[in-house]
Amino acid sequence: MKFHKEHLIEICIPVIAVILALIVGSIFIALSGKGIFNSYSALLIGAFGSKASLAETLVKTVPLIFCGLSVAFAFRCGVFNIGAEGQLLIAGVAVACVGYAIKLPAIIHIPLCFLVAIIAGGLWGGLAGYLKARFGAHEVITTIMLNFIALKFTEFLVNGPLREPSGVSPKTPHILESAELLRIIGRLNISIFIALIVTGIIYYLLNRTTAGYEVRAVGFNPLAAEYGGINVAKNVVLAMFISGALAGLAGCCEVLGVFRYFMPDISSDYGFQGIAVALLARNHPIGVLLSALLFGSLSNGATKMQVIAKTPKQIASIIQGLVIMFVAADMLVRYFLPKKKKE
């Protein structure tokens, strides 16, 4: 691939958006009456200051990578998946069941859990894809509805049939040891490597395979894809299945690696943040890695910022919002790019 000026601009836009967001964010910090420098350095220390905080940042990053990939993949097929949150929850609860109820050696137990997550998340996402392909139901509506159903359904499960009998709070019992993912530091576990590998696979799938060719063709121009003999309906369902499966992996890694049980709170809105991650990454898998790391460190650093600099941690959410706004307002950002010389 040759490298042109246009590619450079593609990369510059998210970077500039982040810088602008930090600048505008500092206005909000000033308004809250705290020091700008203090707050930002506390944010940085909170995110990367020690081994433990770095590990926790990565813990937050992993589900964002999966959910970012999920949204980005569907986007590349022209489908807007707002349902990553629901897909994550459904897969999470399914994994918790398999992780608790079936006795198996780890070498089989863990892959089985992943398979269950892929199928559960995939079917939950694929359902929205099917409704779109078959009946023309808009995926934005259906995935939002499926989110509500997933949330209420899993709440019901952890309060009722799946509730840990002795537990104080509503959650499922602890999974068996054979299903646990190996931890590295603190709650950080080997799912970070799984996320990296999956990112590579998705990149390859999109850009190097015939299936990826179809998905991209449908995403860019469904009429031309149809003309080329590509089954548009099939691809919409498939893309939503894969998208749901990716969100499902986020739920799986939360349950097996981070929490080791399931409750709806295992997701701190990762499914929704995934939309932001994908947007900032401009739906590019490698970009998803970077933007997931950014959002992961913002949300982890924010807690420390509140403790050290007493800056309200909502500032981090404001900055996240601003980043998205600036990415969306791509024209505004282009304005800040070096201009060609004027005569």
């Binding site: 392909a133 015939t210 060719y213 991209r216 031309a224 309906a233 005569e343």
Partner: protein, 525 residues
């Protein structure tokens, strides 16, 4: 007086100099024809004048004053108006609403004064003989009328200088005549016009002066009255162009495409094809002539599997293909050059190479198991680029950034090279330069010589008459007449195109109209 003067304009795109040191001028009250091969840089030059692109170097003078045109708003305020080849109108809105979009006249700062606007639209329309109804919805008026709306839009905003980029490519012969009449009125009222067109007889008819571009540079300039069409052609292409192609007689073979009593509906669910029957045999070119909107689009889509057939039967080489999914039909040996290259024919955000394999990416050698073989795809692309003279910086360039004519060449190359049993060519030479037209027509004849069948759908009678062995005339969804290629005359066909054969019974309204979603029809989950 020179109303426009561009001096030493240079514009580069990644890998290509679209304009190189280009200088020309436009006099007041003049029609200037800007001609040149596909990719010569005509649209780029005009986009610069309209403020859509910034040149790397060069100066622009408007009314003899130096200006910097940084965006279309500046251009409009300088009295420049442009009608793009792809119209920029919003179909559900009315003519007036479209015209005032972006410069709405408001009362008290809030309310749009639509009456005032429509009165002004009506005035301008009458003044220039545009015959536009200010209250008509864009989606319900013809393409020719839409183009006039675009012209009116520029006049409404005070244009003195009009740029028309390939305005005639989408028009019927009658509409072209009307457009020229309007252009003459505009000139009479003191406007000046730059027109881009590939049709040299139009250049001869309408323009006062000609500027020729080739490879981004000015190749020459002449008064229209002092040059012949073949002189212009050779200035453009750099060699002589044969206008009359030779066609040897071939005895047609077995029936390849057989369409029997086919009916289908249009997008609104109204009957568009009312029992069409015809066939195309091996070694034969069958032309479909007709006024735009008489069912040509639906007929082509029905054959290619892109629109569902309500009743009737279509077979290809004896195998029934009615309502099969498009891929099955393609694999039976069908090639299709669609009428709208942006809507159907290309994935604009794919590279040139990726577009070349749109029908075959899943087959060897382009696919190995689940993987794409980019090496094979790139080699293939390189070959086609050379053989079909596609002007592109490279095989990895996005098709979006190619010139219109070169985009068309990609489709033609892709479809011809697959060597299909039947090739459905819809407006195959739309937007191509004379050299490329000659090339494409020769390729079609080559296919015929090799015993392939070709169905040619075109609004251009000239093209149909030059190439076809048989000509079918379509009117309101029925075939109303047939003439052989030798007996065909403009008049004979022209009369049939107006449906003289007699009143046809209208079929009842189609039930179960197709869904708007394009992919629902060929659902085979």
């Amino acid at each position: 007086m020179k109303v426009v003067e561009m001096m030493g304009i240079t514009k580069e795109f990644p890998g290509i100099k679209a304009n190189e040191n280009v200088s020309f001028h436009l006099n007041k009250g003049e029609i200037l024809a800007l001609v040149g091969e596909n990719g010569a840089g005509k649209s780029t030059l005009m986009n610069i004048l309209y403020g859509l692109y910034q040149p790397e170097s060069g100066e622009i003078y408007i009314q003899e004053k130096p200006v910097v045109i940084k965006d279309p708003n500046t251009a409009i305020s300088l009295g420049i108006g442009m009608v793009h080849q792809h119209f920029m109108l919003i179909p559900p809105l009315t003519v007036t609403e479209n015209i005032i979009l972006g410069s709405e006249p408001v009362d008290g700062g809030i309310f749009i004064n639509i009456d005032k606007a429509s009165r002004k639209v009506k005035d301008i329309s009458e003044q220039y003989g545009l015959k536009i109804d200010p209250f008509a919805r864009i989606e319900s008026i013809s393409v020719g009328m839409q183009q006039r709306v675009e012209i009116l839009k520029t006049l409404y905003r005070g244009a003195e200088i009009l740029i028309l980029d390939e305005p005639t490519a989408v028009l019927t012969p009658q509409e072209i005549k009307e457009l020229f009449t309007i252009m003459r009125v505009l000139i009479e009222k003191g406007k000046s016009i730059i027109i881009i067109t590939h049709k040299l007889d139009e250049v001869k008819e309408i323009s006062d002066r000609i500027v020729v571009l080739r490879h981004g540079k000015i190749m020459g300039e002449a008064l229209t009255s002092e040059v012949s069409t073949s002189q212009i052609a050779s200035m453009m292409v750099g060699r002589d162009v044969v206008f009359r192609i030779k066609k040897e007689t071939i005895e047609p073979g077995e029936v390849v495409l057989d369409v029997h009593n086919v009916t289908a509906c249009d997008d609104r669910g109204l009957p568009a094809l009312q029992g069409i029957t015809f066939n195309v045999r091996a070694g034969e070119i069958v032309g479909i002539a007709g006024v735009d909107g008489n069912g040509q689009t639906e007929l082509v889509e029905a054959i290619t599997g892109l629109r569902s057939v309500k009743s009737g039967k279509i077979s290809l080489k004896g195998k029934e293909i009615t309502n099969l999914p498009p891929r099955k039909i393609i694999e039976t040996g069908l090639g299709h050059i669609p009428e709208d290259r942006h809507k159907r024919g290309l994935v604009l955000n794919f590279s040139v190479a990726e577009n070349f394999v749109l029908m075959e990416y899943y087959k060897s050698p382009f696919a190995k198991w689940i993987n794409l073989s980019y090496r094979a795809i790139n080699d293939f692309a390189q070959k086609l680029i050379g053989r079909f003279d596609v002007r592109t910086p490279g095989k990895e360039t996005l098709v979006r950034s190619l010139s219109g004519g070169n985009q068309q060449k990609i489709i033609i190359a892709r479809e011809i090279v697959r060597n299909p049993n039947i090739l459905i060519a819809s407006q195959p030479t739309r937007g191509l330069d004379v050299g490329a037209i000659e090339f494409v027509q020769e390729n079609l004849l080559e296919q015929r010589r090799n015993g392939k069948a070709i169905l040619l759908v075109s609004l251009e009678l000239e093209e149909i008459m030059n190439l076809s062995d048989r000509i079918l005339v379509i009117y309101e969804g029925s075939i109303v007449g047939e003439v052989s290629g030798e007996e065909a005359t403009r008049d004979k066909i022209g009369i049939m195109m107006t449906g003289v054969k007699g009143e046809e019974e209208k079929g009842e309204k189609c039930v179960g109209a197709e869904t708007v979603l394009p992919f629902v029809q060929n659902d085979e989950l």
